[in-house]
Amino acid sequence: MSTLANAGSTNGTSHAFALDGEDVPFEPGDTILQAARRAGRYIPHLCWHPDFHPQGSCRVCTVKIKGRPGSACTMHAADGQKVESDTDELNAERKMLLQMLFVEGNHFCPSCEKSGNCLLQATAYEMNMEGVLFDEFYPRRPIDASHADVMIDFNRCILCELCVRASHDIDGKDVFAIAGHGIGTHLVVNSVSGKLVDTDMELTDRAATICPVGAILPKRRGFVIPIGERRYDPQTAADPDTQEAS
């Protein structure tokens, strides 16, 4: 991946598109989000992470080009393109997508160890979300605390599939997969018992720390970092260095 210094210039030709009126340099092959992120610009996102191939499922990074919507994480940047992102209309849509994620699972921030480090929560603050708007689904999702070092609280899973990608691409273990369909879509664990204890998952795996919400957490770390000193206490999801939870 190119660094900020040489981004936007290949063989002396520089490329740029306009994000909300300001130029963003890009390399051929970059997606809009990739280039914007590298330039320190903020397009809200949950399922995208610079270390992984894009997935395009959370839709929070939806932007508009010539009035046509699309996900910034999957659309390629093009010279002279005018991309709208930080508009009232798109931010209202993002807020509604976040509200959908909040009511789909069981997200109780005050009792969640991830609170303050959580990208869902931090993005909701960025989008000025003050309530969930919809009636909650309150699904019943048992916790998997079988593993010695890592626990899964499926209540908080937002189906970003970052753990699926991390376990496949980096750890080479394929501990996770997605099952079901529709509102019943859910994360599954690859073992005969379906429990994490029967996999080769380890605390040092990338998949153990990639979760942007509190679904996959290392055990025995509760409140090691006090509230007030967490990632999104001094900083925000819009800041260049904290656009992802880890």
Binding site: P54, G56, S57, C58, R59, V60, T62, P69, S71, T74, E93, M96, L97, M100, L101, V103, E104, L133, F134, D135, F137, I158, L159, D174, V175, F176, A177, I178, A179, G180, H181, G182, I183, G184, T185, V188, V189, N190, S191, V192
Partner: protein, 610 residues
């Protein structure tokens, strides 16, 4: 004798390996791309897919158990829990509803002593609804063991059916006339009215040569009939020009749009025309292999289609050196779906062909460049391929002289609902809705849903519109509703369909379709307010702009149209114009009232006092 129920199915892997599934895997060459077909056939044998079985298949194909579990739980017709020796699924399109399917389902459940959606304790039977099975012109219908269809259900047939299941008579021995599927061709034009001699269109195409064939295709201006309306000749050209080690042509026979059954009739009456169109397409793009993706609901057509393929091989219309042309080698496989509407979307269909969950791919790249196994692939609708065969034979000018300049040729309409003569009507494109209504014997019509739930709902003042790409486009469904129908219930049925069929990949469709159902149920229960109707409109707007694929984008079309055009159907259900909670406060606090003996309005704010 019926298949022995294999409810525990904890048979060890050794017996699996030596048994049916082992043979199945061997026949598939242990190719993970065949996973959906393997799971389908394994289930047909074992009635459901136990975790042991999934684990065995995963191991044999070099896949993880979680991956195989993910695939098996994606498709509606695959069961990872025991579902009974007899699996009975009632088609639940709005037209089936109008024909009384719900009462018949209740009756069958009562007779069998089974709860809908639950397997009876003895493992004999389960009964449930499923999405439209494409038999709207002869419903209500049901699907038995994901294989046979029973049409024209009535109380008598249901009573007999219950008795046959109780006495364990295998479905193949049920009265043959129950399985009769009529074509109901009411109006034939060039496609349905012309008999093509097998091989004639191919011979014409070979005589023209590939450039000549493309000339005719371009002259015809034929556009795809599956919904998107892309110019077929251009799609073929893009695919032909795309580099790849192989090129593939796929016939999309996953006719899942509720109210659509024209492809079923083409596959029944004109299978040669379909395969001929595929072979001509193969010649154009340079494909050696083609696949027909047959929706699971049309499984009953498989054997006859396989027979036609064999006949065509015997006649040198498939196989090596087709019609004596050295180097023109092409053959066709049939892939049977397993219940997933989203697989009608071409990139989901390709994922499914590759044995995966039918999640739409990120596009671009489009299948014409990166399709099946990442190779250039053309995916065409059944009707499009039939039209292409005619264009190859009779020329592009002949085709483009029919219809309108922007919408050439004819198209097939699956007419169902409130009319005297439901069935298939073929008209030149540009035919008005009025004309079709008159021909099918519709009276006192309130609305027509054109193109299915993802299409457009037209009210009476719009019946002068024409079915054409430039006016009201259609993928073939034409559902008629007279003035006795409640358009809110129509929209609610469609909402349930989209929630059931959402693939679950992207947030707005996965959660949005479920929220729409919740809101519609709340309105139906008489607990809604204007706030709920406004919220439905907000969800509709969101889904139009943010979903990953077209399914999500169009999932609220009928909702939108009915709110705009039939608003009183919603408003007469509103409890108030202000906010109303989704729950009944009185009911919720009733237990507390009983326990405490308190019944004062101030403590619990009885609704009547509010």
């Amino acid at each position: 004798m019926a298949a022995v129920p294999d409810l525990q199915s904890s048979s060890g892997s050794a017996s699996l390996e030596s048994g049916f599934v082992g043979a199945l895997l061997l026949r598939a060459g242990h190719d993970p791309h065949a996973l959906v077909q393997i799971l389908r056939e394994a289930q047909a044998r074992h009635t459901w897919l136990s975790r042991d079985l999934l684990g065995y298949i995963a191991g044999a194909l070099g896949l993880t158990l979680a991956h195989v579990e993910g695939v098996a739980t994606f498709y509606r017709f695959l069961h990872t829990k025991p579902a009974g020796e007899y699996r009975v699924l009632f088609s639940d399109n709005i037209t089936d509803r109008m024909q009384g399917n719900a009462t018949l389902l209740d009756d069958l459940c009562r007779r069998l002593g089974v709860e809908r959606g639950q397997m009876r304790e003895d493992g004999r039977v389960s009964v449930d609804f499923c999405s439209c099975t494409g038999l709207c012109d002869q419903g209500p219908s049901l699907l038995i063991n994901h294989h046979q269809v029973v049409t024209r259900l009535d109380a008598g047939r249901v009573a007999q059916l219950a008795a046959l299941i109780e006495s364990r008579v295998p479905a193949v021995q049920w009265p043959a006339h129950w399985f009769r599927v009529d074509d109901h061709v009411r109006r034939a034009d060039v496609l349905l009215g012309t008999t093509l001699i097998p091989g004639a269109a191919m011979a014409a195409a070979l005589a023209r040569g590939v450039p000549g064939l493309f000339d005719e295709m371009n002259r015809s201006s034929l556009r795809g009939r599956g919904g998107a309306g892309f110019v077929t000749g251009m799609k073929w050209q893009l695919c032909r020009d795309a580099p790849g080690s192989e090129h593939y042509i796929v016939c999309n026979a996953d006719e899942g749009e509720p109210g659509t059954f024209k492809d079923r009739v083409l596959l029944t009456r004109h299978p040669d025309m379909v395969f001929e169109g595929m072979t001509i397409g193969a010649l154009a793009i340079g494909a050696r292999r083609g696949m027909l993706y047959l929706r699971g609901e049309y499984r009953y057509l498989l054997e006859s289609l396989l027979d036609v393929l064999q006949r065509r091989r015997d006649a040198h219309l498939l196989g090596e050196s087709i019609l004596g042309h050295t180097g023109f080698d092409f053959d066709i496989d049939i892939h049977v779906g397993a219940g997933a509407y989203v697989c009608g979307e071409e990139s989901s269909l390709i994922e499914s062909l590759e044995g995966k969950r039918g999640t739409p791919r990120i596009r671009p790249p489009f299948p014409a460049e990166h399709g099946y196994r990442q190779q250039p692939t053309v995916v065409d609708n059944v009707e499009t391929l039939c039209a292409a065969a005619h264009v190859a034979l009779q020329g592009g000018a002949w085709w483009s002289a029919i219809g309108t300049p922007k919408s050439t040729g004819t198209s097939l309409h699956s007419v169902s609902g409130d009319c005297e003569r439901p069935g298939i009507y073929e008209y030149p494109l540009g035919t008005s809705v009025d004309r079709i209504l008159e021909d099918c014997g519709a009276r006192d019509t309130q609305a027509v849903q054109v193109g299915g739930p993802s299409g457009k709902c037209l009210s009476a003042i719009e019946f002068g519109h024409r079915i054409a790409f430039e006016d009201v486009p259609s993928a073939g469904a034409f559902m008629v509703f007279d003035r006795s129908r409640d358009m809110f219930e129509v929209a609610r049925n469609y909402a349930g369909f989209f929630a059931e069929e959402s693939c679950g990949f992207c947030t707005p469709c996965r959660v949005g379709t479920a929220l729409v159902v919740k809101s519609m149920d709340k309105l139906a229960a008489g607990r809604g307010s204007r706030h709920d109707v406004d919220l439905l409109s907000d969800i509709d707007r969101l889904m139009h702009g943010t979903t990953h694929c077209g399914l999500g984008g169009s999932a609220c079309n009928a909702l939108h149209d009915t709110i705009v055009k039939f608003r009183p159907a919603y408003e007469r259900r509103l409890k108030s114009l202000e906010f109303e909670p989704a729950f009944d406060l009185d009911a919720e606090v009733e237990a507390g009232r009983r326990v405490t003996g308190q019944d004062d309005d101030t403590a619990t704010q009885r609704e009547s006092a509010a």
